[in-house]
Symmetry: C3
Amino acid sequence: MITLTTDFGSPYPAAMKGVILQRTDARLVDIAHNLPRQDPRTAAFWLRETLPYFPPAVHLAVIDPGVGTGRKALVVRAGEHALVGPDNGVLIPAARRLGEEIDAFEIDPDHEAFPDTGGDGSTFAGRDVFAPAAAEVHETGVENIEEIDWLSPTDYEDLVFPEAELREREARGEVLVVDRFGNAITNIPGNILEDRFGSEVAVNGTAVPAERSYAHVDPGQRLVTVGSHGNVELAVNAGRGDEAFGVGVDSTVTISY
Amino acid sequence: MITLTTDFGSPYPAAMKGVILQRTDARLVDIAHNLPRQDPRTAAFWLRETLPYFPPAVHLAVIDPGVGTGRKALVVRAGEHALVGPDNGVLIPAARRLGEEIDAFEIDPDHEAFPDTGGDGSTFAGRDVFAPAAAEVHETGVENIEEIDWLSPTDYEDLVFPEAELREREARGEVLVVDRFGNAITNIPGNILEDRFGSEVAVNGTAVPAERSYAHVDPGQRLVTVGSHGNVELAVNAGRGDEAFGVGVDSTVTISY
Amino acid sequence: MITLTTDFGSPYPAAMKGVILQRTDARLVDIAHNLPRQDPRTAAFWLRETLPYFPPAVHLAVIDPGVGTGRKALVVRAGEHALVGPDNGVLIPAARRLGEEIDAFEIDPDHEAFPDTGGDGSTFAGRDVFAPAAAEVHETGVENIEEIDWLSPTDYEDLVFPEAELREREARGEVLVVDRFGNAITNIPGNILEDRFGSEVAVNGTAVPAERSYAHVDPGQRLVTVGSHGNVELAVNAGRGDEAFGVGVDSTVTISY
């Protein structure tokens, strides 16, 4: 199984699939192709929250603002999974969830296994480097990754999401990502709300109902809830939480309860 | 085969696929993931018009504005098909097309077959309840559904689309849904136009050409036609019929011919 | 393997998949379903740039502004591939890339192999004609296409993209398509920039940096680069090239270098 995640929209990912299907009969599963453009941090969040639901697989993730600028191309092994993508941190939070230890390998894009794109770069490494690399890792097997001769052990650029500070009856965190519906997803663990559902908490000083799900408040009303990722989310039933709370990525969020 | 229909956009459906693929090798087919948010009626229409084209399958459909509020979770058997989703009517019109008789079963989300989401609800029942339920129904087989110990027979919330009134040379109906292109799809059967193509009919009192397809009128011009669902559609070639005719869901439409 | 390309958005392509899966177990791969509406030329470009990356397959492409107006329905054989779609040129540039010779066959939509849609046309030939045709071509095998009794040899409407004029240190071409990110893709071959990366060229008289990839200029800055298709592209890093350069499809582009 190979999963695919990009910010390419359509039809670019189809060329990647063609390249893969020239090399393997693996099942292909799309994670997302409309992630925010050139934003490895948001993609890293979604990969971390999504890939652990999958059986062992090769996960191709190309959110790559540095394409063509000499950034490394990686294969990261994490447990029985492998992740393939650029060295900008996008793969790492998911890898940490998938395996206790993670090993990184650098792809040599000038190896004859890859098409000669005629210079020191390509605008479509997803198709020309990452897709054939993912297919080969799949065919070789994650456990035999050291046998692949265009891979060599390497270090990698890390990406660590900040952790919330938990005090007595107060949590101080920040917005990690805003999803397409406008829900502002924080790094505050959802269990702080466990005994508060149905009552109010203070979000940045303002009282807001804490509810198990959107439908517990009227359409257009604000709430704090726990999203599918287990984190506290600032939301509006049938509306945009980011706008109603006046927050965006990196905004500080303090919840008193 | 398992089909998936949601209003989740992306990347949420991917977690559902991961959960399913942990449990079965079934083929997965996406019906739609960008249906109007929290609108079971529109989703019910599209499921009714789409699922009958499929071979026997398990159809997972999560349009679930009542998630976390105690609404029942259902498996509905219809002929050789099964439908899995919330008890808000979204499954029923399709089920009636798929089978002469339909049987409904309630899912017990507190059964150990499902993850303990730590309370009386979850914001992502699609991933935590409906996806594993669909996988299990697929593996058990639709004909053996009674063997599943977290299912029990139940009644269900019905959803019946209104029928048009057909009189002598006049049909009175309403708009059931508006598609993404702005075509206003009515409940008036398309066969009333059978002998009228190429001439005009009166739509709410105004003369409009009846044509077999959009291209028979100039771009920007209004027409009535018969959509792929077999119903009369108010449309504009390369434009939005809903705006040009001033109609939306539930608007009354009278066609005299 | 059967690939699918449409301008239908969602959920219409799902009905096509159901029809296909009634007839074959072939792998299905989506190329794109959100191509610009009723624009065979843009679709032809993307098919030409994408399909050659695939192993031998049947490629279903339904961008069909003339549906219901008597245009022919085609199967085109190109090497080990077959393309299925309307006779408006959309299939031809890709077919020329896939095979040295191409043979066209006309589909008889009134044959009993297809549902009787009750007249001289249908608004959803993708589901009623092209999908069952693609499934049958897949099952029969591209090499045995002559055996299919609802196919007969035919000529076809051609579509040829204009070629750029290359002179001494100047190329004169035009914009073929604008992608979803606003990159204006020209017909000028990318190799004219080979020795120019890192310096400036003149685009319609104005100096613009030529770079291997977007990230070589600051966000919001213009550049010319070579896209994944090998052609010169007018772009803006993290912005829209079409707007910044004031160009659209068919605009003349002269590059002096």
